[in-house]
Assembly symmetry: C2
Homo-oligomer: 192 residues x 2
């Protein structure tokens, strides 16, 4: 009659993400998480050794997707189609994880966790721009890629656009990102 394996852990992560969204990572204490679950602080510590570990576990799935996106993009040789693929994939990732991205982008706790998850391997923050404009692009293109990536991520998580439905937001973000990177507007919607 005991809980399914991992059930408590999953419930804990759901609770944590909910609290992170409202109070931020820093503003969420282990006590709050424990209270919300009806257990003590020490019980939370049984499932996760540190608060950072909880933060990492919350961000993990989205980051895995991002790494997978980059890995697949690396197999596309022609720069144009590769950029198209990254644009569509990145926007889709951001839109599907809007709530998480909002927390993710505005919290140094999560940002440090991200650095830890991408354990040493060539940073995503280096690979992403390279996939869009090439590794040896001129300064202007590099700045443009950073503006595009940061802008899409932040705008996607912005409370100001929270009311917009996923499909509409996705369309506008793709348009904005293509415009920023100087790629022509698409007519067709790709089949992912």
């Amino acid at each position: 009659m005991t809980a399914v394996k991992g059930e408590t852990r999953t419930r804990l992560l759901d609770t944590a993400l909910g609290l992170f969204t409202v109070h931020g990572v820093e503003g969420t204490s282990l006590q709050m998480i424990a209270d919300a679950l009806g257990v003590t602080k020490a019980a939370v510590y049984y499932h996760f050794r540190t608060k950072d570990e909880i933060t990492e576990a919350v961000a993990q799935p989205a980051l895995d997707e991002l790494v997978a996106l980059l890995d697949h993009a690396a197999t596309i040789n022609r720069p144009g189609p590769r950029a198209d693929y990254v644009i569509d994939g990145f926007v889709d990732l951001v839109v599907r994880n809007r709530v998480l991205v909002a927390v993710l982008c505005s919290d140094p706790g999560i940002i440090r966790a991200i650095d830890r998850i991408l354990h040493g391997e060539e940073s995503v923050m280096t690979r992403l721009p390279a996939m869009l404009v090439g590794p040896d692009a001129d300064e202007g293109a590099q700045v443009s890629s950073h503006v595009a990536l940061a802008g899409i991520a932040m705008a996607g998580g912005s409370p100001a656009l929270a009311a917009m439905d996923d499909e509409t937001l996705r369309r506008h973000l793709v348009d904005a990102m293509r415009r920023q990177l100087g790629r022509p507007r698409r007519r067709d919607t790709p089949t992912p």
Copy 2:
């Protein structure tokens, strides 16, 4: 031989910004600030009543500039020149405060402080996009303005572009922002 009025306060804010830059706001304790100044924690408390007050004081000058920029932009009637003015002013503000902006954009402590500073008055985050694309712009233009603003701010503070000198970064950011907003490239550099 006592210190000049406000001298300790200024030194404290400089020290705080330096520590915020390295460890983040959350990661910087009052003890660290006090130690760096060679005083006790309570001495810090004499100059500022709370940690939040320190955070606010660090962000204050840049935010005052931003509000002034918006106030002046509001006096420009024609949308085109007004957008041009905001683009130039915003990029300039970001570039001149690169270090601060890097902390500012990635720390909920500062973000909360910002909300507090802009005490109730119509939010900057609402006024800024309106100055760029008008208050009743279509969805696409609104998304575009958010992408542009967030992108410029984040890219400006990004460690990846920290090596770029101010003049070059400013030029590329203005180009990127104009492209995102669909405004033609400028030949002349404006005299601010």
